[in-house]
Amino acid sequence: MTVLERPAVAEVSSPIRSRALPWRNPWRRPYVLASITWLYILWSLVPVLIAVQFSFNDGRSRSTWQGFSRQWYCCNEGSVFEDPSMFHSLLNSLILGVATVIVATPLGVALAMGLTRWRSRTSAVANGISLVPLVTPEIVVGSALYLVVVNLYQFVPLGRPAMLLGHVTFTVSYVLVIVRSRLLSIGGEYEEAARDLGANSLQAIRTILLPLLMPAVFASAMIVFATSLDDFVVSQFLFGSADNETVPILLYNAVRAAPTPALNALASILLVGSFLALILAYVALRARRRSGDESALETLADWG
């Protein structure tokens, strides 16, 4: 009986659907929105791809393609690795990034563990303070750090030490957010179990909590590295003299002064550096989640 009824229903409903105007059909494919989205993606990425393309230009122009060459990367006069200021800025950026990771990651992990597991009014206040750097405009952070280093912490020279302090200050919050979300999802049961089995608190942290946190710690270290590599404003307020220029500062100063494709090559190297760090972070997260790429991506999206 039911088998016979089904075609009848279909016959009734299909003429109604076909009579409806196409834009009234809620199940039609969203062509307009889809094209806006893809156009936006092209608009946002193609200029950068063209800039990367010109880093391989066989000539001095940054607007006319003259054939493929690696000359702006290496071993020619004026290439990234032969130009002292460019090579130096690359080195400065790398050293600063690594140093920031080394300081910010343990600081942030300890802060996250402390603030998440320690429940009191003080910890709530500290929690609030530690998230403010995430929403404070960089120009405020940069100028405040500049004024304090120049006027009060005079034992910190402008340059690499001051930049390190600055980078750690705004990246600690990233570590905090990432590690804390992992801590909240782990819950306190594992540590309790460890302590019931006779471990003291430090042992419980070292043998249970830290291994469980490892993917989040690694991912946040990579994100700290990428963020430090990309930072411009805080570095610009604190770099002091030209010896301490990082890559973004050099790009900023050189972009309007008749640059060669070597500048594009330098920017491309920076791009590859931060993407490598990011891919590693993503792989760590994906291994942790084991539920497909989307959720890991969405976690990244939520942290941003």
Partner: protein
């Protein structure tokens, strides 16, 4: 007979109680020393009343020494139409406003499509939308400087349609506004995406089942439900945009397009009058804090309504 286990646990609890604050201490100390104190230093310089032999302000560390004359001058120069900084404030507001309008016009459809309609391509689209986030901001601007040069691809493309080349990079407000929108759109889309993604599909289906068309469903269901996400996205984008000074320097470099951030950078890094720079930072922070508080009140009201 007393059970030994609770005793043991409470002994651990005491040790743990001390352990967690001890772990939080270094980070908290760091943020106080390098985030709270620096902000106080801004005030100490802004309210400084004395100068040293280089004509630089001597910070007034004690609030008792605070002298408000410089800061009052900064405020009057900012808010009276003939003031020295009035123009850059107005320009900052206008540029940010139009850049945010572009962000909403482009970012909302993109976030909506990605969150609700992208289907099996969703992961790919999300990755592509997130990519600019990790491309250095200066590099993204540099890419446009390449394209917008007098003999760049943009002018060449316009030439195909018979449009004469335009000099984009010499002080054009149009270029600056679009550059700001281009720079900050990724930061705008993601929070909005997160909020649109959380909307319960069943609410939209219910609206449709009740015979409401797509447009009205959007106006009466989707838009109100994404309101908080939209406001979050606007705040997250507007805060850095208001303090931006590098975008317009890169794509224009002309004093005709200078914003508050340029004035701050100029006074702090290139001149002796750091107290005026600090005063502008303070004023900018106060203006932005006003928006932040408004935002916090809104989020709290929203979460109270949600929990009711």
């Amino acid at each position: 007979m007393p059970d030994p286990v609770p005793d043991k646990a409470s002994g651990h609890d005491r040790a743990t109680r001390r352990l967690w604050p001890a772990l939080a201490l270094p980070g908290t100390f760091w943020l106080i020393a390098l985030f709270v104190v620096p902000f106080y230093a801004v005030m100490a310089v802004a309210f400084s009343g004395r100068i040293n032999i280089f004509n630089e302000p001597i910070p007034a560390w004690s609030p008792l020494e605070w002298e408000s004359s410089t800061f009052t001058t900064v405020i009057t120069d900012s808010f009276t139409p003939s003031g020295a900084y009035h123009e850059v404030w107005v320009r900052t507001a206008i540029y940010s406003f139009w850049a945010l309008v572009i962000c909403v016009a482009i970012g909302y459809p993109v976030a909506y499509y990605t969150a609700r309609l992208a289907g099996k391509r969703r992961g790919l689209i999300l990755a592509l939308i997130l990519a600019p986030w990790w491309i250095n901001y200066i590099t993204r601007m540099l890419a446009w400087v390449n394209l917008l040069q007098d003999d760049g691809y943009v002018n060449k493309a316009l030439g195909w349609f018979g449009i004469p080349p335009h000099s984009w990079l010499s002080g054009s407000s149009f270029t600056v506004v679009w550059a700001l929108a281009y720079g900050y759109l990724p930061y705008f889309i993601i929070p909005l995406f997160a909020s649109l993604d959380r909307i319960d599909q069943r609410l939209l289906e219910a609206s449709r089942d009740l015979g409401v068309g797509s447009a009205r469903t959007f106006m009466h269901v989707t838009l109100p439900l994404s309101r908080m996400g939209l406001i979050t996205a606007l705040v997250i984008t507007a805060l850095p945009m208001a303090g931006d000074y590098y975008t317009n320097t890169i794509v224009s470099g002309s004093p005709n397009t200078s914003m508050v951030g340029n004035q701050i950078e100029l006074f702090l890094l290139e001149g002796p009058q750091k107290n005026i720079g600090a005063g502008l930072v303070l004023l900018l922070s106060l203006v932005l804090m006003f928006f932040m508080f408004y935002y916090l009140i809104l989020t709290q009201r929203a979460s109270r309504e949600a929990s009711r």
